[in-house]
Symmetry: D2
């Protein structure tokens, strides 16, 4: 059995970053898990992922405190900040939280940074390997340009693989189901080589394969270099196609081209990732407290339709308990989720006059998504053949209305930045 | 008084090429003149232009017979083929036809090819200059790649200018009002220099300025090189911006970019020319006899709107007596013609999501044209300010309907490839 | 037997152009043949070639009279001007001259221009094909940019191949051994296609293969496009690698790169051609009467060495009877000519600090040419191995001196722009 | 008085790197100073510069021990390793060594790395500024790719300028005369901005200008970006034009182009720097113990001639006491040093056939250097005029021989990779 079998459909879940940045805590995490269990689980949502710096006691907001003291065990491994995750006290790590989430019928994930803490290197603390200290395995010039926590690891050093083994072993002992590793799919420390952490990806893969637990591996940030698509597919379950995605039309529009490029690499077990879904309330630590997504309703429809037909992982970014009725509808459309989870052969069909058309198939259905990426409402009147439809029992999946067809053409109004998703 | 005063507004008229190719004859020419006098003259249409090879007795259709015998006078000047233009018999040239057209209150134009007949060169016939034969003034390597009638003229040769003087003197004696000179604004015989006939343009200008008659000068074919815009403006009243224009959407769409580029050079007396208007019945000598234009009605509206607001010369290409009601309406919209003849400051305002917006002004009005160059109908909802409109007494000039405005926005449906032309 | 068998070694001979331009006459031609027979024949020189416009009675110098009357037979074929070639009177063509040259033990060649006389086209004279006139087979827009004699021939026209057959038949009946066809290997009438006379090359090949006489075919002018090397090799015995070559160091220096590029196509029967050798007295019709070559003696050595080791055809350009002792030595060095005629595997070995080294082999010998293309004398001290020499019995072929070698190195002084040619 | 007045002629001296790498010690440093005082001082040599990692007790050879413990004072400033520099014991720093060197009539310089020790940042040690620790002023992502000692300094941080002030104050208190700051003129941590430490150069300048001592400032490594030439000239006395220079012909040849580019920026007080001179015995800690330079004698002449006529700083790299007679001659040629120290208007005159010619002038003399960059000896025969010489009393400065001139030409043999330096 290969690691690819652990994610045969696009992973669905929630991640703490978009709303809580570096300062997620145990209570909030579990509140979101609870909401998911009660309202979303039945539709397929299952992963609850704790994002960056859970090991930093004083972290706050979307930015980082440089050189902050990190919580670390005797083998130079990061462990949860007890003030933020009280149940981790006494060396129990995330195991108590994982147990609670599992008890809700969900799965638990954590974020990690590539490498070994700089603080361990400069203190020259031990690693799990006898006689090898943090200093011995660090790659001194390899660092993350936006966060001071780590140095990269020199894959040629004695003890390097064992260090990666030791952290994964620890996380496996906490019953973690999902790891999002950051600063690894697109790095900036080596000019002209955005994929310079290639060897660390390989060490991580080996460590997970050894650990005895089926931990899904997700790589960040993006854009992952497309010329490394084969290497990515051999080492991870999902990886980011883009830089950080936020609620901005230009970023959403740019995703169409990225989806087109990455479409050949969408396969069961290995998923190019459009990034978290910034719909709902976001950024709780912004200056004005939480805020609503900037996407219009039509843009939200476009996002959900594109992520679904492209078959991206679906990872929600908002504070789930805040969800209003309308937002919840976007996340609980069974037909749309069925498309995302079961379709095959998804691909761009054509692009013409601000209309972009994607299609997919499943055993029971054929699907056609029609996007209007222009700034004006369009009255589409297009041949069914070109849209890969027959025109019989054609339903629009967001409205559940039957499509209007005449003279071999499908007719519909599509608002500016909006989409229609047909199934038959 | 400068030659620019002879065409202070964009010339309006008819040309025989689009419908009759090389084989226009006296009767057909006069039938079109007659129709113009009765139905179009009152709207401003006035030039009746006889296109290429009126000096070739056996010419037929849209192509050429290589090396055909041409009708030539004793000074190596081409004269009308008597079988096609009977009134020219006895050395009267086009004078009798010009007289008839003038009697109708219209003006008369002819087409010429740059240079001197190859037949004159190889027969070494005299020119008007004592002791100078055709051979002495021909540029042996300068020829037209698509027609065998002429060699170019070597501007440095003794007798060169006098030859151009002699032909213009002849045409002036026929009371010609308009000359369309071909193979001169974009030539192909010198690779890398499409404007290699520059000196012949200058000789032509001099000849006309000397002749004592106000003959409007039009240069073909295009695309004239934009880097020669100043030279063109100093020598001709109009010149082609494009290769031959026909009833094909791609060519019409491409004209938008050309208009944008040439807009700074649109000035009273010197007009960049979008070419003849292929609307109505065309190509009488095609295999299936005459045919109707391929442009849809919406595309015809777009063409007439663009030519008008850009302030191109308006030269009709169809067989006028065939015009149906709907076609005639396009040519007799007083408001649209007023825009073309009197507006100033015409320019592209913006381009967005397949919408292209042009504006212009006149002493009494402001004009806004909105084009949908996409393949689908658009429901435009755009701020009046961006459209340079106020929203009061705003009339659409093709339908005469009042525009719908609300909340500072103008709202209208624009069909695929169609246009709306607002005035207020 | 293929046409390639007719030139198994690089053709050696003389051509009238460099010294006599368009005005070679019978007496001068035969004087050069006589000189060749007496002084050069024994070294391998054999072709005597009459260059351009032998059919133009009033031609003079290195330029052309536009549209001059040409001497033509009843089938639109050019024939010698009797005033310049008296023995051709009475329709005998070049046969009497060919006979005399053959009697001297030499071979006879003529120059032709691609196509059919423009004068024939405009007079519409007959061709050898019943019912087909010159006008029917001319390609009206295809002409030579530097000479007014011809139009190209339209390969698709009925009678086109037969016209080429008819001229070759005529020349074969004159016992011509060599044809240099001009305006065919690099044409300028079609921008972006310097090889646009490709089809005429094919017609010429067919015509020669049919005619029953082994006529060597040489194509001009250059540079022939290297991407057409295969086509050239399938149709001609030699073709020009360059534009017109004259006695100018920059042109000679540029030949090194050309030789390097064309070296893979040097094969028995098909020879890339460095052009005529402008050494000796040249340009008899220049303003100051004949003049001596501008090449220094060292540059002459370089030219003869490069042409020889590259295995170019060797075609002399001077007035042979004027040759002084020193010049004659350059043309009668048996060892150098043996290299040119018999070597194989010639190729550039290296280039370093203004030293360019070429090598070749024959059954008996190995050859190394060392060129100093810099402006200063060089004292070469280079390893024998790098020079592909052993250092035993190494002779310099121009001086016949033994080479100096020590410590595995060859030592020699090479003057600026000069060369040494070693054999062992 | 400006900092430019502190180096009105190109600085001349010795630096420990080329021979001793990271492991120079007090005894060796003083031995070189002693040799300079006795043998070189009279020719103008004066700076004795202690290169990198004098603060690292265990440093050895040309490479670095990652994360080694550094000797640091209470304000996060690096101080000499007492085991290597015994006289620095008791907090005396380099003052005792400076005193000894000054007593010899020489000047003393040290190397520093841009920034603040990473060890200070991770230990969060104090700086001279009340309440500001190392962590507060470090730029976390700015580091040196080839050495782990430092983080860059964030110029916007409170206490940043004061930290630079504090180190310069310390060095000034040691009576340092010259600072070579490294990892500052060409950095690699910001892709696409090799000059990203621009602000740190400015802080350094300010700190020196404040300190009350005339300390010459030299920036490394290179290549400094030429588009920053003006900024460099406003902030430093010398800066590196190249990456590390070593005894390799390709690097020496490449210097010609660099000199040509940087020549306009050579001005009194601000000197583009060709880097240390790797002639003599080098690399004492190489595997095989010290080794002799790889440059041939002719290449050494070329190096000294180019550095001199370009007016580069002259900084020797060998172990001076090892110098043999021949090497010493290269460093003690009064005429050549006079050229370097006093000439003006130095510039490249021409380049032709592997000959490169530079010229310069002084109040008394004119100078012409002729380099043979080819692989073969050249017999130069070139017009005096082109060489900017008159041919009277022309002396070659390395041989002291009079130049040979005839017919307005200078004649001389120049060996491969060699040079001649003429004065008149």
């Amino acid at each position: 059995m290969s690691f690819k079998d652990w994610a045969l459909t696009p992973p669905m879940g929630w991640n703490s970053w978009d709303c809580f940045g570096t300062s997620i805590d145990e209570e909030t995490l579990l509140a979101n898990a609870q909401f998911m269990a009660e309202n979303l689980k039945e539709y397929g949502w299952q992963y609850v992922v704790c994002d960056i710096q859970w090991y930093q006691p004083t972290a706050r907001g979307l930015y980082y405190k440089n050189f902050a003291e990190l919580n670390m065990d005797e083998y130079s491994r990061l462990i949860p900040a007890v003030n933020r995750f009280p149940s981790s006290a006494g060396g129990k790590g995330f195991r108590p939280i994982a147990d609670k989430i599992h008890a809700m019928g969900l799965k638990f994930g954590i974020h990690i940074m590539r490498g070994i803490p700089r603080q361990a290197v400069h203190r020259n603390t031990p690693t799990v390997t006898q006689g090898v200290t943090a200093r011995d395995i660090a790659q001194s010039f390899s660092l993350c340009l936006w966060n001071t926590d780590m140095y990269g690891i020199n894959c040629n050093a004695h003890g390097a693989q064992e260090y990666y083994d030791s952290i994964i072993e620890l996380y496996a002992s906490w019953d973690v189901d999902f790891i999002k590793c950051d600063d690894i799919a697109n790095t900036e420390f080596k000019p002209h080589d955005p994929y310079s952490a290639e060897k660390e990806i390989e060490m991580l893969r080996k460590a997970i394969d050894k650990c005895g637990r089926n931990i899904v591996l997700s790589l960040s940030p993006g854009p992952a270099p497309i010329e490394k698509a084969d290497h990515l597919s051999e080492h991870a379950n999902m990886w980011r196609m883009t830089g950080d995605f936020w609620d901005d039309w230009d970023k959403l529009y740019a995703m169409f081209k990225r989806c087109e490029s990455w479409q050949p690499y969408v396969k069961p077990g290995t998923w190019p990732d459009c990034d978290m879904i910034p719909i709902g309330t976001l950024d709780h630590h912004s200056q004005n407290g939480k805020r609503l997504t900037n996407f219009t309703h039509d843009e939200q429809i476009t996002l959900m339709t594109l992520w679904s037909i492209f078959r991206s992982p679906l990872i929600l970014g908002c504070h789930l308990p805040d969800c209003d009725e309308e937002t919840l509808k976007l996340f609980t459309n069974k037909d749309v989720i069925e498309l995302n989870q079961t379709a095959t052969a998804s691909r761009k069909q054509f692009e013409n006059s601000n209309i972009i058309c994607w299609t997919a198939e499943s055993k029971k259905h054929r699907y056609t998504a029609v996007f209007n990426v222009g700034s004006y409402e369009i009255k589409l009147c297009e041949s069914l053949e070109k849209l890969c439809l027959e025109g019989k029992n054609t339903t629009e999946l967001w409205t559940k209305e039957e499509a209007e067809a005449a003279d071999g053409k499908l007719i519909c109004q599509i608002p500016a930045h909006g989409a229609k998703l047909f199934r038959e």
